[in-house]
């Protein structure tokens, strides 16, 4: 219970700093902190494999990619150019901030309504066996039988993304 609030506070605080920070380098590093806190939450939800994936793939691979690009572009000086950073003075952007606040109210309302039917975690699950939920074996079973088509589709997606990234970032000669 205490750990939930601790990790939740870390995740929200780090995400806010990611969004509001002026230096992209700090943003990337703080996002890794946020991901680590989320991994802790996943362990609290008895999804240890999801937590491991979160750390290895998100914090390990995707964020390193971001960090690499930030350093490659030497981008930390870019943000203090004219018009960069949070601009609350302009009409459309202020509308965006209002929309974000509206969104959090709406989402909290909708999700609490959805959560109320469930009540306590795992109180109403049909075949709620924590051991089966945690095991990688049952996860793999579902992934390669029920979701095998989606799995193959994601492999094609990865190939397309890889080729696309190479084509896009190539220096045309």
């Amino acid at each position: 219970m205490l750990l939930f609030y601790l990790f939740g506070a870390i995740a929200v605080g780090a995400s806010l700093l990611v969004v509001l920070g002026r230096n992209p380098m700090h943003s990337v590093l703080l996002l890794i902190v946020s991901f680590a806190a989320l991994a802790g939450l996943y362990i609290g939800l008895e999804a240890p494999f999801a937590a491991v994936v979160q750390i290895i793939i998100y914090a390990g691979a995707i964020m390193v990619l971001f960090l690499f690009v930030v350093m490659l572009l030497n981008a930390h000086r870019e943000d203090d150019a004219a018009g960069a950073g949070p601009r609350l003075a302009h009409g459309p952007l202020r509308a965006g901030a209002v929309l974000a606040v509206l969104l959090v109210v709406e989402l909290a309302w909708a999700l609490t309504r959805a959560g109320r039917s469930g009540g306590d975690l795992l109180a109403s699950g049909p075949g709620a066996d924590p051991a089966a939920l945690q095991s990688v074996r049952s996860l793999g079973n579902v992934l390669f039988t029920e979701y095998s088509l989606a799995f193959e589709a994601t492999s094609i997606l990865i190939i397309v993304a890889m080729v696309g990234a190479v084509v896009l970032a190539r220096r045309e000669s």
Binding site: G8, A11, V12, S15, V18, V19, P24, S27, L31, F35, L38, L41, L45, A47, A50, Q54, I57, Y58, I62, L65, F66, V69, L72, L73, A75, E78, D79, G85, L88, L93, A97, L99, A100, V101, L103, V104, L107, A108, L111, T112, G115, G118, G119, D120, L121, L122, A123, G125, P126, L133, S138, V142, L143, Y147, T154, I158, A161, G164, A165, V166
Partner: protein
């Protein structure tokens, strides 16, 4: 035991934080980072729902979301590099060639 609603409210707060970043920031890399925050908020909701339903489907979908996030990051960063090479800027207001 933490009730499901608390996880969902946390997920909503994170998602709105990411949305705020996409709207407010004028830096392409920070906007991509905000999208990652939004995807993670959705992951948290999926896993919390999966836990409350007692099924592994939430975790399976979380893996698909991670895969899509990896593809999105690769393409997005390739686009950022290509744009930076042409315009020497990361401000999305500079990239107006397709506007009329």
């Amino acid at each position: 035991m933490v009730p499901l609603g608390h996880y969902l409210i946390l997920s909503a707060i994170l998602f709105a934080t990411g949305t705020m970043g996409v709207f407010l920031r004028r830096n392409v890399i920070t906007m991509l980072l905000s999208i990652e925050v939004m995807l993670n908020a959705v992951n948290l909701a999926f896993i919390a729902f999966g836990r409350s339903q007692g099924s592994v489907d939430g975790q399976v979908i979380m893996f698909f979301v991670v895969t899509v996030a990896a593809a999105e990051a690769a393409i997005g960063l390739a686009l950022v590099i290509a744009l930076f090479r042409h315009r020497e800027s990361l401000n999305p207001d500079v990239f107006t060639s397709l506007k009329w």
